[in-house]
């Protein structure tokens, strides 16, 4: 190039000193505008996300000031006489989420391992798409399915569980005795368990896709090493894939937990709301924060709306904490796996 040749003709001292180039600096006016615009979108997105928490907090202030700490310990929901709290709905939310995660995690881990290691190679991409599709099926469709199909088929299982394991408080159903088959089926419907089953199906694909992503990153060298040492496929999975995927399993589980706690419509359609702390998951009647909001937003007074906002804020903070933990766990497991190449 011309300029380079001109440079090299100069004496040594005139040459500009070699400064390490800073590759991140913007070059020219267009680039500076570009940078500012992109940063601005980042700020806007962050602002929107912050506004969610901020406005909930602002609106919830009135109710929170009125109730103080009792907001966390009261089970009733009568905002118009200033007697309300989220003890019942929060317990319900956590129980539904716990049931959902207990059922979905084995399914999700199994399916993720199946897709990453067992399934015929030609089938894998299709299966990944199907898992994604399952995650995108509208929640109201799951709710319909749970309400009109699953519920009547689950009663047998609920009855069996409560007959044999009724001595565990969790599985106890009031008003039934083991060996008394005449108890009405309706005590088993609209329960935490049924809602949890439906939510489990909704969160399993999300957990599965996170886990599969992490499992697929388990280094090929170590997989082959395990095979070369004579490991069976399951031996390889236990020795290589699962240890590498621990972060993915934990993170995926928690992401699913976050989704399960926030699920509204499917839970709302299935449960019959009660405002007492209901620890019996097989028994009819349950509640959750989000279905409380969906139930009461229409007939709420100003103060009632503020109370609902406070409940929403509690849900928001809870899911946020769970999600933060989940994504940091997943991120850490990802970076660890990448170092191997």
């Amino acid at each position: 190039m011309l300029s380079v040749q001109a440079d090299s003709g100069r004496p040594e001292s005139d040459r500009p000193r070699p400064v390490p180039r800073r590759p991140q600096t913007a070059r020219g006016f267009g680039d500076r505008v570009f940078r500012y615009q992109l940063t601005a979108t980042g700020v806007v997105v962050l602002g929107i996300m912050a506004a969610v928490g901020l406005f909930l907090l602002l609106r919830a202030g009135q109710a929170l000031r009125a109730r103080g700490f009792a907001f966390l310990t009261t089970a009733e929901w009568q905002p118009d006489v200033h007697n309300f709290g989220i003890a019942a709905v929060l317990t319900g939310t956590l129980l539904v989420a716990a049931v959902a995660v207990t059922i979905s995690v084995p399914l999700a881990v199994g399916t993720a391992l199946f897709i990453s290691d067992v399934a015929p190679r030609g089938l894998r991409r299709t299966l990944v798409t199907m898992v994604d599709l399952m995650a995108a099926v509208p929640s109201v469709v799951y709710g319909l399915w749970g309400l009109f199909f699953l519920q009547q088929h689950v009663i047998g299982l609920s009855r069996w569980l409560s007959d044999w394991f009724g001595w565990i408080p969790l599985f106890k159903v009031d008003g039934t005795q083991p060996g008394q088959p005449l108890a009405s089926d309706s005590v088993y419907t609209a329960s935490t368990f049924v809602a949890g089953l439906v939510v489990a199906l909704m969160v399993a694909p999300i957990q599965c896709s996170v886990m599969r992503e992490v499992f697929a990153q388990a280094p090929a060298g170590e997989r082959e090493g395990a095979y070369a040492l004579g490991a069976t496929r399951w031996g390889m999975i236990r020795a290589v894939v699962l240890p590498y995927g621990t972060g993915g399993i934990i993170g995926g589980t928690m992401l699913g937990l976050g989704r399960a706690m926030g699920e509204t419509i499917a839970v709302y359609l299935i449960i019959s709301p009660v405002f007492v702390i209901q620890p019996h998951i097989l028994q009819t009647g349950s509640n959750s924060v989000s279905s409380l909001i969906a139930l009461h937003y229409g007939d709420a007074s100003d103060f009632g709306m503020s109370a609902l906002m406070a409940a929403g804020l509690a849900l928001f903070l809870l899911t946020l904490a769970v999600n933060f933990t989940a994504s940091s766990v997943v991120a850490r497991s990802r970076s660890g796996a990448q170092s191997e190449g």
């Binding site: 300029s3 913007a26 680039d31 570009f34 940078r35 992109l38 940063t39 980042g42 997105v45 962050l46 929107i48 996300m49 969610v52 406005f55 909930l56 609106r59 084995p106 399914l107 881990v109 199994g110 399916t111 391992l113 199946f114 897709i115 067992v118 015929p120 798409t129 994604d132 599709l133 399952m134 995108a136 099926v137 509208p138 929640s139 109201v140 469709v141 319909l144 009109f148 199909f149 088929h153 299982l157 199906l201 599965c208 004579g230 069976t232 496929r233 399951w234 999975i237 976050g258 926030g262 419509i265 989000s290 909001i293 937003y297 929403g312 849900l315 899911t319 999600n323 994504s327 940091s328």
Partner: protein, 406 residues
Amino acid sequence: MTVVEEITAAPEVAAPAELPDQPRRIGGPTRSGVLSLFGAAASGLCTAVLLFGELAPFSGVLGFWVTAYVAFLAVYAVLTGLEEDGQAVRDRVMTVVLWTAAGLLFSALALVVGFTAWRGREALPHGNFFTQDMQAAGPLDPLTHGGIAHAMLGTLIMIAIALAITVPLGLACAVYLNQIPGRFSRFVRTIVEAMTALPSIVAGLMVYATWILGLGMQKSGLAAGFAISVMMLPIVIRAADVVLRLVPGNLTEAAEALGAPRWRTVWHVVLPTARSGLATAVILGTARGIGETSPVLLTAGFTAALNADPTNGPMVSLPLAVFNFVKSPEPTMIARGFGAAAVLMALVLVLFAIARVIGGRGPGHQTRRQARRTARASRRDAARFEELHAPTLSLLAPEPVTGEND
């Protein structure tokens, strides 16, 4: 069945030297593997039939299958144990368990989709279901009256509003996260990732608090569009971010090496390379946004009439219509609900099919038409360079590749 596709060779088989040379089979089903699988399945089934029919006072369909499955696993383990060592038995049994887990999940999906379509069969054949709204149809009217045209239009309008907000903002933010690294963008990424699982009702509640309570607007399609945007934005950003990270570094480095400013690199290299992946990200976000009920429930109000004006008056979307239909005890209303749910499912499926077709290729892979277009463009460029350089090659300084007219 390929359950037993990977057969392990026990180490001691290979050790003796007097065995004749024989290529070792390292995969594929063996006859005894397949036979023991089917044998175990048959015997598991028979055990369950025996227990439920004759011996024990068990009952219930679910219990029958669980018993059959457990018996099947036990028999299969024993049969495999007859000729393999413990390692291989564990491997075979776990392979079957993994197949079962995946089979359960996918059959649940098939069941959900199939059940909705099956129950929707009553409402779907009626043409008026797609062309009328519910204004003139009471709860007791037969399915030949009323339809979900208002909900379909509402869904289209709301998702259009949401896309108009999320696509530019989401893609720009994803580019920001990728192109301008730093502490702040890492922070934004963390927040966005945590927000992908934002409960959708909280998104609705936020728009309700700001737009309807704060600014005093009425419930409308616009508010619902905002709520869906708040929910979709993190999903789109996250998916687009992942796709943009897959753009090969040597492409961007080549552009930088040619002296292109960053914005040109992004506009002409990064975004076109990731185009199909970005389209997939947007479509998947759309599929999620279309199906959400709770943000719309809080912000759109409810109406039985067709309303094409998103700024004025309540508007209803498909999932919200489903929700309201099935709350009614009337069988015709429930049939309408399932019909609307089937339409919604079909919409999501179509979006997914499109995403699969577009996103079927990795970054940088082109369709034949795109390849032809690129070839044409580079021929044009070659001709242009020819023109520029041919007569006065030695006099001109090299033209920067990033000239205004490329």
